[in-house]
Structure formats: C-alpha cells, structure tokens
Symmetry: none
Subunit: 222 residues, 4 copies
DNA sequence: TATGAATGAGGCTTCATTCAT
DNA sequence: AATGAATGAAGCCTCATTCAT
C-alpha cells in the first residue's frame, strides 16, 4: 500500500538528512493523491483526516490545501487520477486480438487483474462503492467514465463470441455482469471483508479467476 | 432481521398488532435499529448522525443513548441484530430438497433474493463491505456468522451436484464464489452505485439472476 | 456596556451556586446577541471569536451554534435585533408633536441620544459602518430599515418647519444630513476614536448636541 | 500621502517619470502602502489578506514581508505614511487668508474636499475609525497628528470670526465639531454605507458641502 | 532582492455524548 | 423512561509568516 510513499524518501545515493522544507511543487500533487488513495481505501472518506493524508505524503496540513481546495476535491481528484482514459488503449488492444473469443475472455480477466485488480487502483472501486451515496456527482462520473466504457468493451467481446459461433446466444447486457461480478467480488475480498479475515480464508486471485473463467466459458460456449 | 422486517414477513392474515402506543416501549430498540440500518446503509456510518437516527425512529437524541451506549455500539447492534442465524432453518430446507441439483441452485438464488437480497437485510452486507476495515471485530463476526455458514451451505449444494454426477468435478472452494459473486454484485447495484444511476441502467434482479444462473449451471454441468 | 449580561446572574433571591448546565432556552438568544453586540462593537466582526461571545454569554462554544448557524448569521441577528421597527412609534410621536418646529428638532436630537445614541444600540451603527463593505446585503438591509425611515422622519420635520414659515427654504434632502451628521459623529466619538483618547478630550454629548442644535436652528430659521 | 498619490498631484506638465523598471526598487514600499491602503479601506484590516496586498502591488507575498515585518506593521505604516504633517503649510495658508471669515470657512471646506476628502487619503480616516479600538496606539497617534492640529486650525478660524464680530459668541470647542462632523459624514458616505447603496442615494459632495456650509454660517453669523 | 512553497497556530463549525429536568 | 439543551473534543480550513532557492 503505502510503500510507494516510502520509496520517494530514498534518493539515488547521498541520503542526506531530509531538508526540513522541501520544495517539490511538481511531485506534491501526486504524492498527496497517493497518500490519499491509500488512506481513503483503508479507512473510508470520513474516517480519513486531512492531516493524516498530509503527514503520509510528508507535508504539513496546510500544504495539502495548497494543492486541493478541500478534502472533497481531494477525493474527487483521487478518483479521477486513477481512472484516466486507459480504455482507448485497451479497446485497441482487444480490437487487434486474433485468438479465439474464449481466449480473449481469459486474457481480459488476466490483464484486468494484473493492470488494475492487483494494483492500488482497485481501491478506488471499493471507495466509490462505499461512498457513492455521499457523492452522487462522483458516482455519475464514475459510471460514465469507468463503468460504461468497461461494459462496452466487455459487450464487444461477448458479441464477437456469439457472432463467431463460439458462444451460445446470450442475454448480452446481463452476461456482461458475469464478467464484472467476479471483478467486483475480488476487489471486495482484497479491500474489505477479505482484508479483515484470517489468512486461511484469503482468496488466491489467480486461482479464483481461473476457476471463474472456466465455469463462465463453459457456461457461455456452445 | 430487525423486528419490522419480520413484521413485514407476516402473512396477510389477521394478527392485530397491539395498539401503537402500547408496544412503543418494547419496540423502541427495534425501531432505532431499523432507522439506523436504513441510514447507515444509505449514508455510511460516519455520515449518519445520531440525531437523524433518533428522529427517524421518532424519539429524541437522548433516548437513543438510553438504549445504545454509543454510536459505535449502535452500529454493532445493527449488524448483529440483522445477522440472524437462519441458516439452521435453511440448512434443513436444503437438506430436504428433493429435486435436481441445478434446480436446487436455481431455488437457492431465487429464495436468496426473495428472503434477503430484496429486503432491507441486504443493506447490512453493503454496510459490512463498506465499513469492514473500521470494524474488524464486526467483520470477523460477520465472516463467522454469515459468510462461513453461507459458504458451507453452497458448498454442500455443489458437492451434492458433483456427487450425483450432475456437475463436472469442480474446484468447489472457489466455485462457491460463482454463486456468491452475483449476490454481492446485485447488492451493490441496489445499495451503492446502482442507486445513483439513471433508471435506464437499473438492473432487473430477476432477469439478472436468471441470466447468471443459467450461465453458471451450463458451466458447471456435465 | 456588558452590564446587562451581568444582571442575569442575579436571580430573585436564593443565589445558589450556579448549576453547571443551565437550561435557559428562552433567554439564550438574547444573552448571546447581547454579548455579541458588545464584542463586535468593541473589536470588530473578524477580531471577535465565537468562543468569546459564547463565554461572555456564559455558555460554551457549541451552544452558540445551537442558536445561530454561523458567526455571520449571528452578526446579522445582532443588527436586526437592535433596529426593530421603532420608527412606527416615533413617527406617531412626531406626528402628534404640537410645539414649534425648532423645539421639535431639539426634542428629536435629545430623544435620539437618550433612546439610541446613549445606549448600546448605537454600537451597531459603528458596526455597520465598519463592516458595510464586507456585508453588502446587510448594508442594504440597514439602509432600507434604518437609514431611510430615519431620513424620512427628519425630512418631515424639516418640511413642517418650512411649511410653517419657521425655517428658510432649504435644500431639504441635504439639510437632513445636517441632523444626521452630528449623530454619526457622536457615535464615532463614543465607539471609535473617542474611546481611545484621554478623558480630557472626551466629548460631553449633551453639551455637544446643545451646541449643534443651536447653530443648526439658527442656520435654518428665518 | 503615499508616494503614488503625490505623483497624482503633480501638475499636468512634463515631469517624465523614470522608466517603470528602473524606479521599481525604491518605489516598492510606496506601492505596497498604496495597495494596502486601498484594500484596508475597502475590506478592513482583518479581511485583507497579505497576499492580496502583494498581488495588487505586483510583487510576491514574500516581498511584502521584506519591507514590513508584519501585517500589523504594514497597517501602522499605511496610517503613518498617510498622515502627513501638512498642517504647517495649511496653517500658513490660512494665516495669510485675507477675506471674510465666512469665506474662510467656505474655502476651508472646499479645499478639504479637494485635497483630502476626494482623494484616497480620506480612506485612512475611515480606516482609523473602523480599527481604532484594535490599534489604540495608532488611534492616539492619529488623534495627536491629525485630529488635534485640525481642530486647532478650525478653532483659530472660528475665533477669528468671533473676534472680528462676524460670528456670534460660540461654544468654540464644540462648534469645531460642526465643521468636522460633515467631513466625517462625507467620508463615511464615500467609503462605507454610501459605497454599498444604489446610485440614486449617492450624495453629491459639492452640493452637500455647499448646503452644510450655508446652514452653518447662517447659524454662526450674527 | 525576490520568490512562492511550505508551515502551523488558530478560528469556525460539527456532532457524539451528557445530564438536569 | 424520555427529553433536548448544553458541552467540548475534534476536524476542516485559512492565512500570516518563514525560508530555501
């Protein structure tokens, strides 16, 4: 989680006593967003104190407000920062995919995990789900910027499968959820209940994904 | 379930409720838990003000603290109260089930929706997921009282299917999640992002469940 | 100044040790407005801390916000509270006045001093003048509710004098200011520079008013 | 007067100002005092942010504190700087005055308006009146450097009128206020309530002064 | 000198909790 | 048991001031 904020403290070599007042205008916003993401995911929006965020980013309370006018705007920035438009790239990637559609689904789930699910970014999904009711405009933003593009991508995959005769005719709108539900589930295991539970019950994400995908493909294939 | 949601479950018959004023005193804690559940689910723990809970329950702020020593204890009581041990009953019900295992899975999903998913009780799952990190002891309690029994119930169903040769050999531990993930997903649609989104995107639970179950069964059957 | 807030501490008799938590919903707002008036006049709006107001009213910080939603609203309430509609009464009083118009002017200045100038209420004029630019809406309110009625009252007096041939023809709109300027001046002596200056320079209001009135009447009479 | 307001007073003639960039360094404090005067007058001491002052003077926040060790010292410098000792000059001017004393009073009011009332310098009177209680030492300074000399000047004028038999015997100490009250009044119209009020109610200073002076002279003359 | 990023004390406001009635 | 006025700790945010560059 917060290991990244530690990394910055390790300069290339010299390791001089860190100057009391660093001047790092460029890096600050990113560091603050990093710290905020960690804390918001871990404790929720309300239970995270601005001062904590600042402290974890290695600055003082006031500095936070130099970059973000309010805790709420910080929250919004965290969400925006971590979603960005990676869908364009992914859409292209899947457009160019040449294998079978089942392989495509397998690949989709795998890279989702590698690129998002396993990263801190997955935390913001948990965050959004926890706070959606308190930030309806952010929820709308997330729906529009994340959920919809993701659904369209998945829908195209499923349609390809049906079109190519690999999949049975499907209720595609809802079959999409067959792919997203395990993702949500995994995120929740990682960031919520799963994080509060003894190791023994911990889910192994790769195994989980493999298991789900096979059942899914079996279920969708002819 | 809170007392009121039990009341709702009462068949349409006579059952004259005792005159409103009379049962107030004994009903108070239940009314408070009811109100608290609604608000906690809707706004989260931190964003819910004690006074609001009291107001919704029709009592004064002070009265709330007569029954629950703190907001945190109220929260815990809400969760505990709503995690009834109905698994004994359900276990028996499924023990006695006579149809095919695929039918059993269909039935399982359907009654889950009817008895839990569609009721306010589903709110505590959302609540637990949102607040687990802030209430680790509750999370453990929930894990033990709800998640584990539920998983065992589902596991027995799947094992029955495998044993009877209806299902392929499965990675049962993880196949269980194939059943629970859609439930979690549906709950989140209902209480979180789905609640902040235009009607058009609203998910029709019955259709969603039907779609998932068929894919699932297809995937698990021989 | 704040003597009035002391008065409340003297109950009819018993003089028991003041209970830690008084319950005085009725009296609170007035006490808070009293305290706030004193402090705002003395130190200005910004330099007055909410906690000070509360302390002077004998309550805790939080209690202030039970009655006024913000410091700014408190300020507005102070202004409104101290202006009220006393003009109706005064208008009647002057309508019924039977003596000469010069006597009327003398009487006007005298009762202004007795009823307003000499009281704490005069402080709000100083307050308004100091803060007008920061509270344009309040300034408009004050203009409308205080300045205009006052000017109309004075205008009627002057017109009476002209109509009855007691006064020369006057530029009445501006002659009104001949009456109000000394009032403003006196208020400023009392609440501003005059309050920061050695006793010797202190202005004796009665003597000041007498002096101004005589010059004024001399100047306006035929 | 601050340096810039002196510059403005320069006759229309040649007087090529040194190239902007060159004179910056020496002009800095004056530019800051200028900016500060405007803002303090407009918003009051507390509501004026140091950064705003710096920005209006075209320098950075840090630079302000290079010239003035604190906001409070800046305030004091603004006041001191704008309380120039021009009384020597004026005293001479009035010593040499040859016309009638009523003309002298007319002249006095007129040049006061032209040289002070109409300029930004009038702002410091508003400032002093608003902030006197928070800056008692400045108030004393102002009393000594401005109010007293001004009163003595006016007193001499009035005494001349009485001595020459132009005025009735007057309560001279207080008659002085008959001249200063309209000035104060006009300043307050300009910088306070009058600035927050629709155009229609705006006072025309020349007309106001003319009106007051005539009533006054009428009142004081034999 | 000048800059502007950084600081942190201090003020406003909220709200869980208490307690006299 | 119930009320709701009162409390005060705690959090957000501002802004005068500092200081490395």
């Amino acid at each position: 989680m917060s290991s990244s904020s530690n990394l910055k403290a390790v300069p290339a070599a010299a390791e001089t006593a860190p100057p009391r007042r660093e001047r790092r205008k460029e890096a600050r916003p990113g560091e603050l967003l990093d710290a905020a993401l960690d804390l918001f995911v871990e404790k929720g929006f309300a239970a995270t104190r601005s001062e904590e965020v600042a402290a974890r980013a290695g600055v003082s309370k006031g500095t936070l407000f130099l970059y973000f006018p309010s805790k709420e705007e910080l929250f919004k920035a965290v969400v925006r920062e971590n979603i960005s438009g990676r869908f364009a790239e992914w859409n292209e990637e899947f457009e160019a995919f040449e294998g079978s559609t089942p392989d495509m689904v397998r690949y989709c789930m795998r890279v989702w995990w590698e690129r998002l699910g396993a990263t801190r970014a997955s935390g913001i999904t948990k965050l959004m789900i926890s706070e959606a009711r308190n930030f309806p405009d952010l929820a709308a933003f997330y729906q529009q910027e994340v959920i919809q593009p993701a659904h369209e991508l998945m829908r195209r995959i499923l349609q390809r499968g049906v079109a190519r005769g690999e999949f049975r005719p499907l209720d595609i709108d809802y079959a999409v959820f067959s792919i997203s539900a395990p993702m949500i589930f995994l995120i929740m295991m990682k960031h919520s209940l799963g994080a509060c539970v003894p190791r023994d019950y911990a889910v192994d994400p790769e195994r989980y994904i493999a298991s789900q995908v096979e059942i899914l493909l079996n279920g969708m294939c002819k």
